[in-house]
Each structure stands twice: as C-alpha cells, then as structure tokens.
Symmetry: C2
Subunit: 368 residues, 2 copies
C-alpha cells in the first residue's frame, strides 16, 4: 500500500494507496472528530486540498452511533467526504475523555462523557465500529499510558497492546480496509524496538508511533523519533499519532515519518491563534486592531487573499463564529502547505535547506 | 435612484441604483449585524448571490467603533463586501437591546448592553456613524414604539420621528449616500398617511415602513400594508423594515413593497429551522434521523446539493457549528430565491399564479 518515492537524509516522500485513492506523503491529516472538521465544511476541505482526514471512533460510536452511519452508507457517504479517511481506535479517548475507565484483558469498560452510560470498548468492538464506519485506514486498539511512567508499567501496557493488536489482526475487516499496528513503549528504545519487532511478525500494512506528546519533554520526543524511526520498515507508512505543533511535524518529517494528525491547528484557531511563516500570532492582540495585513502576509489561502487582521480580530472579539472559520481554514492550509512544501523539497533532495529556512523563519517571531 | 420596471397587481419589479451598483427588486437583504452575516463569510454571500446586505449602526458603533471602520476605509473595505450596504439608524436597537434608554428631544441616552457605558444617540450622531461606515443606503433615526400603543402615544412618537427626520435630512452625508425616511404611526391609516405626506415634503430618495411586526397580529400587518402601500410614491423604493417570515415577505411583495430584511432566516437556522418549499422543518426532529434527503429536496443550493438531513441533524445534535452554517446558508438561499422568483413572475405578469402556488405549497407542511 506504500510506495517510497525518494529519501533525502531520513526524510521520505511516498505514495499511500487506499480504497478511496492515493495520498502523497508526508501528509498532515486534519481531524474530523464527529464527522466534520470543526468550523468547516467538506466543501472547505476539498478547497483546502486535504488528501485524507480523520474520524473518531469513540465520538461517532456514542453519537450518532456506528449503526446509523453504516445505514447511511458509511462515514464517507454520510459526511460526503470522497477521499481517504483514517479512523482511530477510540483507545485514546476512553482514557482521556470518559468519566470512568477500567482496563481488563477483554478491553476497557468506560462511562460516556456525555450521559454517563456504560460501554465496553474491546479490540473486537473497535474493529466492528471501524468496519461500520468504512474507513480506509483502521487503527488497532491500544492502551496509551501517560508519560512519565515506570518501565514496568510501560512493559505491562505494551504486552497488553500486543495481545490486543493480535485480536485486531484476527478480526475480519471490510474489503480493502488497512489495519495499522501501534508501537508503544514510552521513551525506552528497547521496549519500542521489541514492540515493533513483535508487531512486524503480525505483518501490518502500516505502523504508528503512539504514546508520544503525552507528557514527556518536546526534545525527548524529537530525539527519540530521530533515533527510532530508521528502525521501522522502510516500505510501510509511518504515522506519528496526535502530533503536533508545526515544528513537531517538521521534525517528524526529518526523522522519516510520513503521516501526522493533530487538533492543534483547529483547536488553537478557536482560541484566536494563527500560524504564520514567522511563527504563531494571536489575533486578540491589541497590535492587530487596525492592521490591514492578512493573518499571514506570505500565505495565499482564501482567507489571507481577502480578509484583514483588523476585521478578523473584530469578529473574534465580538464572538462571531466566522472568526473561527477563518482561523481554522488558514491554519489547516498552513499545515497542508507545510507537508506539501516538505514533500517537494524531499523529491528535489533539498530537504535540509527547506528545514533550515522554515525553522529560522518560524522561530523569528517577527510579528510578536 | 429607483426605476420601476413592471407592476403586476400591486406587486412591483424595479432597479435600485446605488454607489456600489444596482439591486434588482423585490429583494431580501440578509442582516450582517456586526460586519458579517452570522455563521457565514462574505465569500458565501457572493456565492449566494446576495445583492445588498445590512449593517447595524448600534452594534458597529459599540464594537469595533465607527472611527476604526472609517480608518479601515469604511464598512465595505473592512468587511470586503463589494456590493451595496444598507445601515439602520441604531434606533431600534437602543430601544430593544440597551440596558437603559431615555428619550429626549435631542435623542436617546442609553446604556450599552455590553458594558453598561452611557452613550447619546441622536439624529446627528446616527448620521455621523453611518457616514463613517460609508453605507449606500442610510436610515433616518426614528422612535419605534411597541404595539399595541394608544393613538396619542403614536402621534407624539410620530411627531418626534418627523422632527428627527428633518435633522437627519439636514445632515451632510457622504457623496452618493441615500437617506431613507421612515414612516411611523402604528396601524392608524390617518397617522401613517400624515407621516408619509410630511416626509415626502422633505423629499427622501426612499421610504420605509417602520414599527411593524412589533406586537400586532400578523393579519393586521398584512391588511395594513395592502391598504397603505399604494399610497406611497411609486417612483421611490419602498422598504418594509425587519419583516419577516417567508409568507410575510410574499405578502409584502404582493402589497407593492420592494425591500425586506429580517434576522429570521439566520437566527432560526441556529435553532435548527430550515425553510422548504413545503413549509419550515426543524432538523432536530427524530423523523430526520436517517433521512438521506437534503434539507429541501426542491432546493438547488450548495448545501442541498450535497448534505443529507441525517448528517446535518447529527452535526446539530452534537453541537457542531457547521450545522449552523449549513442551515443559515440554505435559509438565506431560500429567501433570496423567493425574491428572485417573485421578481421573474412580476416581470412576466404572472405574480398571482406565483403567489397562489407558493402559498399552497408552503402551507401544506408536507414534511411535518
């Protein structure tokens, strides 16, 4: 399912083939938690040139329910998104969102954060839901412990994750659905390597790094990825789950990772943050009150081609939701442009230059 | 500024010329209270084919302030809306929204609903603000008493409105800005006629009916318009302020009115209501849970061309703002289509047929 096109240093450019078409990597995948990217429409996502989006198993299972979505023809038809979809397993959410959760060999018993109702999410249940949703890439159900954690805790958790991975592997998914294995093991290279080896024995079509950006220092994550990623099978896609800031994505690409997702560009948008070539700005800042420039003068997105910081700041300050739309749209464009530009640089063996220039500009904070 | 193209019964089709181009009437004008149509962008408004939108003097005066907008080149440049804009006088809002208001000959002393700060809005101040905003059509500052009210109260109020109208008329607006006079007088034909005559002596380029849909019965308003509107100068545009439901607009057109505005299509959208050929529906309704049809199967708007009731209902129920965007977009399309179709019918002397068919379908409530 993955064709490696070029490698420049550790950075890679490739093509991912799915039931709903190809994805050019490296790629950032916008998060469509509950069947839409927050503040935007699927028309917007097409216009933005998004190639693949995420759906959340936990959220869609609770509302509107995976049976309803299956009855509507699956998540693609329900949401009208025609390109690839990746769904997570629900594992991360039952640990981070639910009112209560209790882990057993079978799975996780949890209480809904919406109405307190009790549910069991197991490897089989997660696969069943993701089969109903009809996503192109299905994630294995794993346990995701918060860092820092002792090596013993991490080993125990990793062993459980491996047993669960096997159960996911044995489940019969829909035609063409691809199941990714998730590598756990915290920041311990030996645990991670063992986890990777044992997952590879099960022969997944792709592998993800889970349990990062969950409490450790940013440098630790960057160093770990730089060391560990080259050990991963070079002919399979490598996905860094839930990460992160623009520089995290840039560093992930440098380490040789292919796929990224994060709520940050959309969530921070709703808090007034816009990403620019010269670092993030917050539109609430008084300095933008009469600023006729676009959010990012170096950006060519629909929002930056038309609206001023002054106007968007006003809309944000009076609570008009249109401001959230503008900021989300621009931020996703920024992330998609980052993956696109990185890919071009890799294909031209210019990734080091691209990296250095991006880094230098981004950390200059010219607008702050 | 107004060219009457055809009259069919009392219904009229015409062309309104402004600083920012022509408007084909009858026309519904979407309300952009604080510099944007709630939930939508100016790109959306262009796509919808809106010809003229409203801005609110009261809201824009308080935030971000008319001086700021003037410094940004006026409301057109600030909001990026290139077609005509009509601004209200702020009169209605100081009575309906402010914490406190005290009417004197000079104007209205009021307290901001945002921070309790005290401000005086007078005819001159309203004109000054609207001049700063640079709107194409400026509304005179009037007193708008709630109905029912005694004839004595209404006469007193009308006299004040006339003295204020004179002061607005004497104020020096920007080049090409057109000031509309507002006819008050409740449901008393003699008061309304007197008000109209005395305003016509001041020779405004257009006239509005104010103080309707503010407490009286719907039939009273319809009957009043049907009786009164033919008395208005046929060579000047006639604007029914703040009205109303689709059938109110239809009846207004039948009575010979040319311009309409109302927050209803956008406000009700945010409460889950969608207008359809066969009457309004509420997307929250259980019956739409698995409904694959669009909001209105007879509609060709961007939303109805793509998204199902089931999907929009899900988004609405989980609180995704995208639902509000979809419903607002569709509802404004519905209102704009209504004015467009009515105009075509009038130009073809088929308005009676159009009216009867629309009315029959709309009141059938087929989807409820």
């Amino acid at each position: 399912m993955f064709k490696l096109e070029n490698q420049d240093g550790q950075a890679r450019a490739g093509i991912l083939s799915t039931n709903h078409g190809e994805v050019q990597t490296p790629i950032f995948m916008p998060v469509g938690t509950r069947g839409t990217i927050k503040s935007l429409t699927m028309d917007d996502m097409e216009e933005l040139g998004a190639q693949i989006i995420l759906g959340n198993t936990y959220h869609l299972y609770l509302r509107p329910g995976h049976e309803l979505i299956e009855g509507q023809g699956g998540l693609h038809q329900f949401s009208t998104w025609k390109k690839p979809i990746l769904t997570d397993s629900g594992g991360f959410q039952v640990f981070s969102l639910s009112q209560m959760n209790k882990v057993s060999e079978e799975g996780v018993l949890f209480q809904s954060h919406i109405d307190g109702s009790r549910h069991m999410l197991s490897p089989e249940k997660s696969m069943e839901i993701q089969r109903s949703l009809g996503s192109d890439i299905v994630m294995a159900f794993d346990e995701c412990p918060a860092l820092p954690a002792t090596k013993e805790t991490l080993r125990k958790s990793m062993e459980l994750t491996l047993r669960w991975a096997k159960r996911c592997r044995d489940f019969s998914l829909g035609e063409g659905q691809k199941l990714f294995g998730i590598i756990q093991g915290g920041l311990f290279d030996d645990l991670r390597s063992e986890c990777l080896e044992r997952l590879e024995e099960m022969d997944f079509p792709g592998y993800a790094l889970g349990g990062l950006s969950v409490g450790e220092k940013n440098e630790q994550m960057v160093e770990f990825c730089s060391r560990f990623v080259p050990k991963m099978n070079e002919n399979k896609p490598r996905y860094l789950m839930g990460v992160g800031k623009p520089l995290d994505v840039l560093n992930g690409i440098k380490a040789g990772l292919d796929m990224f997702d994060c709520v940050l560009p959309s969530r921070n948008a709703r808090n007034g943050q816009a990403f620019t070539k010269y670092g993030p700005i917050n539109i609430k800042n008084e300095r933008f009150k009469e600023d006729k420039d676009p959010l990012d003068p170096d950006c060519s997105c629909r929002v930056c081609s038309r609206y001023s910081r002054s106007y968007i700041r006003h809309l944000y300050n009076v609570g008009e939701y249109t401001a959230g739309q503008f900021l989300t749209y621009h931020n996703l464009w920024f992330y998609l442009q980052l993956s696109k530009d990185a890919r071009s640089a890799i294909l031209e063996n210019q990734f080091d230059d691209y990296y250095r220039t991006f880094y230098k500009n981004y950390t200059s904070q010219r607008y702050n």
